[in-house]
Subunit: 322 residues, 3 copies
């Protein structure tokens, strides 16, 4: 069986699926960022359309609901002139007892060109990529606790736009590292792009075992962790975690790990604050920080379209050569 | 804070948002009707597309379900070549605890060009218009009991198409005036366009306090109220009102305020009958009237597309100059 | 009142609605298959778009949920460049008490060009076709137990692609004939296209009364029924039937009527196996057969798009001449 990180490429080494940051080279990540740069100004044009994917059919296969992520993929595909079909899987044939693979085989037979997959099970996008016809691209839009690579790439794009160079940065990631597919993908991307210092900050109950082996420094104290940081990335707190043994009360969490103006003073004066959204105001971040001068949270959303356009057009081009 | 009726205009006085009939001039309403006239014949063409909004992204932001209204906005936008994205807000990020303003800010960051907003709270569309970026237009597709201005404009278009001149008309509006955003917007439009006699007809429990100050004559007796009317507008009876103290039984309501062939004889022989739909046959209107010669109910639906195309293209053009 | 089979034609004899195979001539069915042939290669092209229905509005009016069928109609319409609007009828105005006819009249007033109708009641598509404006086409996408004519046509297309000639074939249809709208339409199409031997195979409880009058031979024993068959069509077993008196247990059904490699040996060596999907593995068909060399199940899905493109473009052209 092909290793996971080889699965993403054509025999000629072109990126055909985008499933995980793992196994992607620095030069490939840079190529994605450069391609996204060419789309980033598109949204300001009078007419926001590129004909690159005209006549292509893209299926948003969302087994897990996410209006925001689906909307950005929908807009990215539409602005590339593709035809987009949103499939709400809870109402689909799988509820008639069809297997996932049968669903995929059937959509494949309808000559679709790309699946954008979101699933609550880690590895779902890889599984689909492993089984689709060679001319089809698969984009992972989030799988379980595993990866959310397009989110990580739009974060990298945002950092590069402001800070230009990755090689001198200290980046702090704060929050539920244990359950966060976003954090996993961010750490891989930051390491690959040459960020020398990555801090992860969380209570012990929200840290994966042996997290240091990912190439990060671990902090339980927030102010120490974000000290002199150039970039502070806040993670969304899944409120459903509060019921378990993972967390104290919401207000206690906010006291220790919520990003306030006061705590932010530990970071560099020109530090930027990021968050994948949707934000919980007063839980992981103070409104004054989320809406403040350091925040680039809405820029992340904007750049998300350009980055997804880049990944979609690159993978489709690679698939088309097979 | 900008007054509500100023909010709709660019500094140069162009219509940028369409939120309410209030504060709009007779010449502006006439300009909308004239622009709609140029679209009204489109639907009969072989190819029903105008390239006016090509490359524009329109979000149907429906916090309140309405297939009919959403469908007409969807078709209007599609026929102007815009890209349309329907957002079912009950399944969106707001259910993850995000505030309305955060939802708007995020969609804005995706570089959308227009929000078509339907909401059960009066003032929701104004609130959004007050907070969006200057290049974005907001159309009110119905907010609480407050306004439904595109419905009122398609009603005016329908009246003008049949009766040509507003200055000699007697228009009767029958039904639940108290809770009707449609009636509110209609009364404002009829007054602005110079209709000399507007009658409102309802039981006392379904009339707003001091309704006379709106520039209407009030009747509790239907036959007196529609006497010699040129136009009879029936309102939809929200059946959920029946449970409160507002109304007697459904059949008693029909007996007093349902439009039958017999009652219609009080109006002028060439009177037209209108209804915003969906109709409750045998509750507020007899089937023989709804389907009869005087009814222009389905024409209202047709013209609704042309009127919405006019408003969408006018506001987008104004927003584009900012 | 026009007879059902005359309803489908314009006065000039052109196919305007596609409601049932009944009443359609061999030459018309052949014309559909030939037209579909011209679309069948489209999906392999770089750009999969035909401008034939540009500017046309098609409403997928699905009163009964079916992601798969709706998706193929959606893709077919999109590849013909039409604008498609999917209406989930459970959330629409009908839930506000509007009648089906009022819903249709309203959509008609919005100048739509085609309704693709799926409904749990037999005759629903005919009813709509009988009442729409002359320029509108209606396609039956499945009505109750009555007909599923586009499915039957894609089955015919699949058979012709592999077997070329209908005039020498033995076709066996296995399963719940009693409740299957697919089987009804298939039998009519096979008879019309001149298939000399049609076998239906089912337990007595799943056979309609006087099924022989449809022009088929009846078998209760599967191996006898599929003997020397060129084509074996398996029907989907509606699991909800299992609760009634119609069927023994699932495993007993599989033992008698499930298509296994072993049973398939009774058919000709080059027999093809078909299924309308979604399949119940291990209930009506073994996985080894569904995924085996004889199976053309996924080809049916592919051809379904081409056949629907053919029917949509033919009916729309006929409606346009009225």
């Amino acid at each position: 069986m092909t290793a996971n990180h080889e699965l993403q490429f054509t025999p000629e080494g072109k990126l055909k699926h985008f499933l995980s940051i793992e196994g992607l080279s620095k030069s490939l990540l840079t190529e994605i960022l450069d391609t996204a740069e060419s789309f980033a100004s598109v949204s300001d044009q009078q007419v926001k359309k590129f004909p690159l994917l005209r006549g292509k059919t893209i299926i948003n296969l969302f087994f897990e609901n996410s209006t925001r992520t689906r909307t950005t993929f929908d807009l990215a595909a539409t602005r590339l002139s593709a035809d987009v079909l949103n499939m709400d899987i809870s109402t689909s044939a799988t509820s008639k007892g069809e297997t996932l693979l049968d669903t995929i085989r059937n959509l494949e037979a309808m000559h679709v060109d790309m699946f954008v997959v979101r699933h609550s099970i880690s590895g779902a996008a890889h599984f689909i990529a492993r089984h689709v016809a060679p001319y089809i691209s698969v984009i992972n839009a989030g799988d379980g606790n595993h990866a959310h690579p397009t989110q990580a790439m739009l974060d990298m794009f945002t950092i590069r736009r402001v800070k230009q160079d990755f090689s001198q940065l200290r980046v702090a990631i704060v929050g539920d590292i244990l359950h966060s597919r976003v954090a996993r993908s961010q750490i891989q991307a930051l390491n690959t792009l040459g960020v020398p210092e990555i801090h992860v900050i969380a209570p012990k109950t929200l840290l994966p075992a042996k997290v240091e082996t990912l190439g990060v420094k671990v902090f339980n104290d927030m102010e120490k962790g974000i000290q002199e940081a150039d970039v502070v990335i806040m993670l969304r707190l899944q409120k459903e975690r509060m019921t378990g043994a993972f967390l104290p009360t919401e207000s206690e969490y906010y006291k220790c790990y919520g990003l306030t103006q006061d705590k932010l003073k530990s970071a560099k004066p020109d530090a930027i604050v990021m968050h994948p959204g949707p934000i919980n105001r007063g839980v992981e971040i103070a409104s004054s920080v989320a809406d403040g001068m350091s925040s680039v949270i809405l820029k992340q959303v904007s750049y998300g379209i350009a980055v997804r356009m880049a990944i979609m057009s690159m993978t489709m081009q690679a698939a088309g050569t097979q």
